[in-house]
Amino acid sequence: MPPLPDLATLARYVAEAERSLGVPIDPAWRPAVTEHYRRLLEAHELIENSGVDLAATEVAMKFEP
């Protein structure tokens, strides 16, 4: 996995996603939203680096324990 983008790049991602999805983000909220977005990408990075073969794992939308 390449390293996570820097905060300025993340802020651009958030702005693009905001426009395409039609979710209005008040400028005052933007730093906190960007930080939470960074944490979600960090979580994704952890999963990708887990060593688990995700491509070979069935994805179930109806979860059964």
Binding site: Y13, V14, A17, E18, L21, G22, V23, P24, I25, D26, W29, A32, V33, T34, H36, Y37, R39, L40, L41, E42, A43, H44, L46, I47, E48, S50, V52, D53, L54, A55, T57, E58, V59, A60, M61, K62, F63, E64, P65
Partner: protein
């Protein structure tokens, strides 16, 4: 034990044997709420008139020789995301105030009322159940009865604090990443998160559809068992006297001992020792499971509230809004990869449980944080306090395992320990919880 601290089963025994009346019990509980709840901020609604009618009906049934049910006259209350007929289901939000009142009770609320339990009201929570501290901007924080400057935990914070404060003996909550177990631990009471799918969510406002669970919180194991028996089909109460003979019990190592206060680890060791645990096991990929849960619950919650995030984001609680907005922007592929991680992790943990019956782990790595506390400093580093509270609970709920959090006395602030089993093995958990309760290793301690 005074009526204030009697458990629900004990109250019902007194009412059924006419040592007290349901009307007396309910008047006393309503009086406690009236006098004391301003300190804790547990209740967002009290249904006093309905409760008095229910109590009168129970007393009339007893007088007429009819069976009033196993929880006759026992007061209970529910997190305000359960439907209560004629009340608007807030789910901790300002937005839901615009909704019409519920037409009928949630299935589990109806089940407890049919058994004679008397509903007293609805309880505070984090907005849309997205939090671990019940610091609700719209309705105020719920305060921990053991220290009013501290959080009661969340998201079922009102459910935890109302039981610990002696306002009611029994409450219902929901648990997505720890929202029953965390308030149970931080308030010093017992909490059950059943196997995913075992208890009906009919009439419950969801946060994350593939992860949400319904369960009880109480001051005794037999209350948890009684409530659970009334909400699903396979009774566990008969297991309480069975002891722990033949059970293979292990202490969780690795992830579940890291980034914690020493007392949290010690409490788990005490319970494991009392249960005769013979081994330590490492749960593979617990950290990655927590990461998957963060993505899945955020994305599912944001999807559920997308219409309002677009139309009226300013009406959300700032404590949840920014996380919902960030999760709403995630690519679907990231959500799908998180679901794949969850499935792989489920299989790994299922293999682990082939060799053991019960896994013991701390419920939270820290005791109750103070209200408004943003970070917590431990010997291993500094962490976001609110998220860190859920570190040890999330890896079990994301794969739907049954867990009982038991309170471990002897510390300045309450500590909880999780007993975890394979899916649908609640019976072995109740055997172990009852065993440590009878020996005083797990016990509710009054805050007064």
């Amino acid at each position: 034990m005074t009526a204030e601290w009697a458990d629900a089963v004990g109250i019902a025994e007194a009412v059924r044997s006419r040592r007290s009346s349901a009307a007396e019990v309910i008047e006393a509980a309503l009086g406690r709420i009236e006098r004391e709840d301003a300190r804790y901020n547990c209740f967002t609604a009290v249904v006093a008139a309905q409760a008095r009618r229910d109590a009168a009906r129970i007393d009339a049934d007893i007088a007429a020789g009819r069976d009033p049910g196993p929880l006759a006259g026992a007061p209970f209350a529910v997190k305000n995301l359960f439907d209560i007929a004629n009340l608007t289901t807030l789910a901790g939000s300002k937005i839901n105030r615009d909704n019409p009142p519920a037409q009928r009770d949630a299935s589990v609320v109806a089940a407890l009322r049919r058994a004679g339990a008397v509903l007293l009201g609805a309880l505070n929570m984090d907005e849309y159940a997205y939090g671990f501290t019940t610091e609700n901007t719209h309705y105020g924080p719920t305060r921990n009865p053991h220290d009013l400057s501290r959080s009661a935990g969340g998201s079922s914070g009102g459910s935890g604090a109302a039981v610990a404060a002696g306002l009611v003996p029994l409450t219902l909550g929901t648990d997505t990443g720890g929202s029953i177990r965390v308030p149970a631990a931080l308030c010093g009471i017992f909490g059950l998160k059943p196997t995913f799918g075992r208890v009906s969510r009919d009439g419950v406002a969801l946060f994350s559809a593939t992860v949400d669970h319904v369960g009880p919180l109480a001051r005794s194991v037999r209350d948890l068992a009684c409530a659970y028996d009334l909400m699903q089909d396979e009774p566990v109460s008969p297991t309480l006297a069975q002891g722990i003979g033949g059970l293979r019990i292990a202490l969780a190592a690795g992830y579940f001992r890291e980034h914690a206060e020493p007392q949290a680890v010690e409490a788990a060791e005490r319970v494991a020792e009392a249960l005769g645990a013979r081994s330590k096991v490492t749960v593979p990929h617990a950290l990655e499971a927590r990461a998957a849960a963060t993505i899945i619950t955020g994305a599912e919650g944001a999807g559920l509230h997308l219409k309002n995030l677009r139309a009226r984001p300013g009406d959300f609680d700032p404590m949840t809004r920014d996380r919902f907005l960030a999760a709403a922007l995630l690519p679907a592929s990231i959500y799908a990869r998180a679901q794949a991680m969850r499935r792989a992790y489920r299989d790994e943990v299922a293999a682990l449980f082939k060799g053991i019956d019960i896994l013991v782990a701390p419920t939270t790595p820290i005791a109750a944080p103070t209200i408004g506390q943003d970070t917590v400093s431990l010997s291993s580093g500094t962490f976001p306090a609110r998220a860190h509270v859920g570190r040890y609970t999330i890896p079990f709920s994301i794969i739907g395992l049954p867990v009982i959090s038991v309170p471990v006395p002897g510390y300045a602030l309450p500590r909880g320990v999780q007993l975890v089993a394979a899916p649908n093995r609640e019976g072995v958990l109740f055997r172990a919880a009852s065993f440590v309760e009878k020996r005083g290793v797990a016990a509710f301690t009054s805050p007064r």
